[in-house]
């Protein structure tokens, strides 16, 4: 039913494949490295887009969830569990093939750590979500920012999380068959597809959600929480669920990214990262999943490629302001692109008028 909603997804899938084939043909597969990383960030961003754009709840702490995923996986896959080898749990995991000993060390399977990461994320999202989602406006912004900062402080101040150095030497994640999430150059193409498959699955799930009864309820909360509740929508539960889902998206991205990069550092939990996520969602046009996805991939790609050198942050700040001034509905929106052009022209005109003919804008 309503297969039309999946047409853009098919186009995306085709584009993903086309890009890979293009790089293969031109011998420029190295572009896939950053496209893969960008895809994981895009996963965080579409989750956040659902929370912000559709349910209307801002979160300035989503890097915290990314870090929870990434750090849990990193700690658990690098930690030597041989001290626990006698315990019943380890025994069970061993018989299930989820723990393996090598070189005198006992390591857990990445599946176990991934599961643990998701469980922890869901638990934290519930615990933190119940109280903070009662807040609104600046107070919600502050509380979520506070959450993000606390996570940042914890990873930066705790030895097991590697403090400022973060965690290195995280092994790859053998998913199934020959599939393996890892950063080695031979696995570049399959990792590109793994990341984008996750993004596509995530997008499909979120599209489904938005168009479902639950999604409608979420959007109604954004429209008017009071009216939504009067219509029988359990607003606090719905807000909480979508918060948890977006947290899981972030955490999942963090976990995969840790395997891909072979480690994680505190910069992933930095507040600036959270701010960037929010800004990218805004740049994409808030309640616009495709806009968020496009901007998420594009802006992260530019940043990871280092195109802007030391002006990366400046460029980012400038983009934020420019979008809010000229295209507050987001860039990926045809109507808006037109008005943006009009507004930009009128701004230029007014500057010209103020400064006299051919004056300088500075």
């Amino acid at each position: 039913m309503d297969a039309g909603r999946y047409i853009p997804v098919l186009i995306l899938a085709a584009a993903v494949a086309a890009v890979q084939l293009f790089t293969l043909a031109t011998g420029s597969e190295y572009y896939l490295t950053q496209l893969t990383m960008s895809a994981y960030y895009a996963l965080v961003i579409i989750g956040l887009c659902t929370l912000m754009g559709y349910a209307g709840q801002i979160s300035l702490g989503h890097a915290g969830f990314f870090a929870i995923g990434g750090y849990t996986v990193s700690v658990m896959t690098t930690y030597d569990f041989s001290g626990f080898s006698g315990s019943a749990v380890m025994g069970l995991l061993g018989t299930l093939g989820l723990a393996s000993a090598s070189g005198g060390e006992l390591h857990l399977s990445p599946w176990v750590s991934l599961a643990a990461a998701l469980v922890i994320t869901v638990a934290v999202a519930f615990i933190i979500g119940i109280p903070i989602l009662k807040l609104k406006g600046h107070y919600l912004a502050m509380a979520s920012l506070g959450f993000g900062l606390i996570i940042y402080r914890i990873v930066l101040g705790t030895r097991i999380f590697g403090e400022a150095d973060g965690i290195s030497d995280v092994p790859g994640f053998a998913i199934a068959g020959g599939l393996r999430v890892s950063g080695s150059p031979e696995l570049r193409i399959q990792n590109y597809y793994i990341a984008w498959t996750l993004v596509i699955i995530g997008t499909v799930m979120l599209i489904n959600l938005v168009k479902s009864r639950a999604g409608r309820a979420l959007r109604s909360i954004h429209g008017s929480e009071e009216a939504a509740m009067a219509m029988g929508v359990n607003a606090s539960r719905y807000k909480l669920y979508v918060f948890v889902i977006s947290a899981v998206f972030a955490s999942l991205a963090g976990a995969f990214m840790a395997h891909l990069n072979g480690g994680i550092g505190p910069s992933e939990a930095d507040v600036m990262k959270s701010v960037k996520y929010v800004a990218i969602v805004a740049a994409g046009g808030m309640a616009n999943l495709w806009g968020a996805l496009t901007m998420g991939v594009l802006l992260n790609y530019i940043s990871l490629r280092g195109y802007l050198g030391s002006y990366d942050d400046a460029f980012f700040g400038a983009i934020l302001i420019a979008i809010m001034l000229f295209a507050p509905e987001g860039l990926i929106n045809p109507a808006v692109m037109k008005t943006a052009a009009v507004r930009a022209r009128s701004l230029i005109d007014s500057i010209k008028k103020k400064t006299g003919r051919g004056g300088h804008a500075s």
Binding site: Y30, A164, D165, D169, G262, I264, S267, G309
Partner: protein, 386 residues
């Protein structure tokens, strides 16, 4: 200067995309990648490193390059983010096919790309301090700053001479502070010094009187501050202000006169081990490093109108070592150059005299450090120089 820079900023934002695409370099140039934290948390390190590297490469190229080939330096600003460092390292290796990588500036970033470089068989000369970078040794990974353990040993040795037995440590929460704190805690028992208390402060800390009060309450005989951030001068000021009058030891991170200047009168008497760069002119002429130190110092200060720091020196050493390796190998063959670097002996750099070996990819001994102190706002030797 400001207007010019603002204009430059606007201009570069608009053209940087295009600029990134069309870098011009001679066909047969030797490409060298550099990953520095020019901005972001490690900018205290990355900025002078980046300046030094560019200056040095220009100088070498002006003299006709190495083995008749020009050097092409590609600097990437990682903003102290490991994920960016990873992305850049892969870009430099796979896309730019660089011959070697200089940097990164911080240990966290270095550790993330250590295996990437090693697997790709690309020589990496890290400018970060942590000991784990070269221990265990990775075949293609070297580092130029002095070992933390050596710095710690020199600090403890000085303390013993002063009769200090119980100390308090504070360190910043950067990789530098982190690694230093670990080494201090590891070596203290061997040297018979008791660490009464060890605290970590934020790299953006603006007031440390609280934590120093905690130290004061534990009656420490000296304070060791191990960090690279501006708070180094705040420590000195706060100690005086809360009347904690015990000797203050700093790490080699203090090796930038601006911190001493910031601390003003409170900075007087700070003791810290450091390379010889900062006291270059005061070295005896017999010293192997003197000529190059004086020259580097003069060039840098003339060109950038700012005081030289030991961090820029790390990049200086990385490049000169690489160039020496290239010269010794006679060709841009990675294996040969790597072996040449590994066997480099008695090579003078800013940090000390390098003696590499297959077991030691740092190559600096205890004697690469001298103990300095601050007197009348200047760095002077605490002991007689050799």
């Amino acid at each position: 200067m400001s207007l010019k820079k603002v204009l430059a900023l606007t201009l570069s934002i608009s053209v940087c995309m295009a600029a990134a695409g069309c870098k011009k370099a001679p066909e047969d140039a030797i490409k060298i990648g550099a990953i520095f934290s020019v901005t972001g948390g490690g900018s205290n390190l990355g900025a002078p490193e980046s300046k030094t590297a560019k200056m040095l490469v220009d100088e070498i190229n002006a003299k006709g390059g190495v083995n008749g080939k020009m050097l092409d330096l590609i600097v990437k600003d990682s903003e102290s983010s490991p994920e960016k460092a990873i992305s850049f390292a892969k870009q430099l290796i796979e896309e730019e096919k660089v011959f070697a990588i200089i940097g990164p500036s911080t240990s966290g970033e270095t550790m993330k790309i250590k295996s990437i470089c090693d697997e790709a068989k690309v020589i990496m000369l890290s400018c970060a301090a942590a000991e784990v970078i070269v221990n265990p040794v990775a075949k293609y990974v070297f580092k130029t700053p002095q070992k933390d353990s050596h710095v710690a040993m020199r600090i403890f040795d000085t303390m013993k001479k002063m009769g200090i037995n119980s100390i308090g440590i504070i360190s910043d929460n950067t990789g530098f502070g982190n690694a230093g704190k670990d080494q201090l805690e590891k070596i203290a028992p061997q040297k018979g010094v008791k660490i009464v208390i060890s605290e970590v402060y934020d790299k953006k800390a603006t007031d440390l009187s609280g934590v120093l009060t905690k130290l004061k309450a534990r009656n420490v005989q000296a304070v060791v501050n191990w960090s690279i951030v501006p708070a180094q001068s705040i420590v000195a000021k706060n100690m005086k202000q809360i009347n904690l009058n015990v000797p203050l030891f700093q790490s080699h991170g203090f090796g930038n006169i601006k911190y001493a200047k910031e601390a003003g009168k409170a900075g007087e008497g700070i003791i810290f081990p450091c390379g010889r760069l900062l006291v270059a002119e005061q070295l005896p002429d017999t010293n192997k490093q003197k000529t190059l130190l004086v020259k580097y110092k003069k060039d840098y200060e003339a060109k950038f109108n700012e005081d030289v720091s030991t961090f820029g020196g790390h990049a200086y050493d990385a490049i000169t070592i690489l160039v020496e390796g290239l010269k010794k190998a006679g060709s841009a063959d990675r294996e040969k150059v790597r072996t040449a670097i590994e066997n480099l002996k008695g090579f003078p750099g800013t940090a000390g005299v390098f003696n590499f070996s297959p077991q030691d990819h740092n190559g600096l001994g205890l004697d690469s450090l001298v103990i300095l102190t601050v007197k009348d706002g200047k760095f002077v030797p605490y002991e007689k120089l050799d």
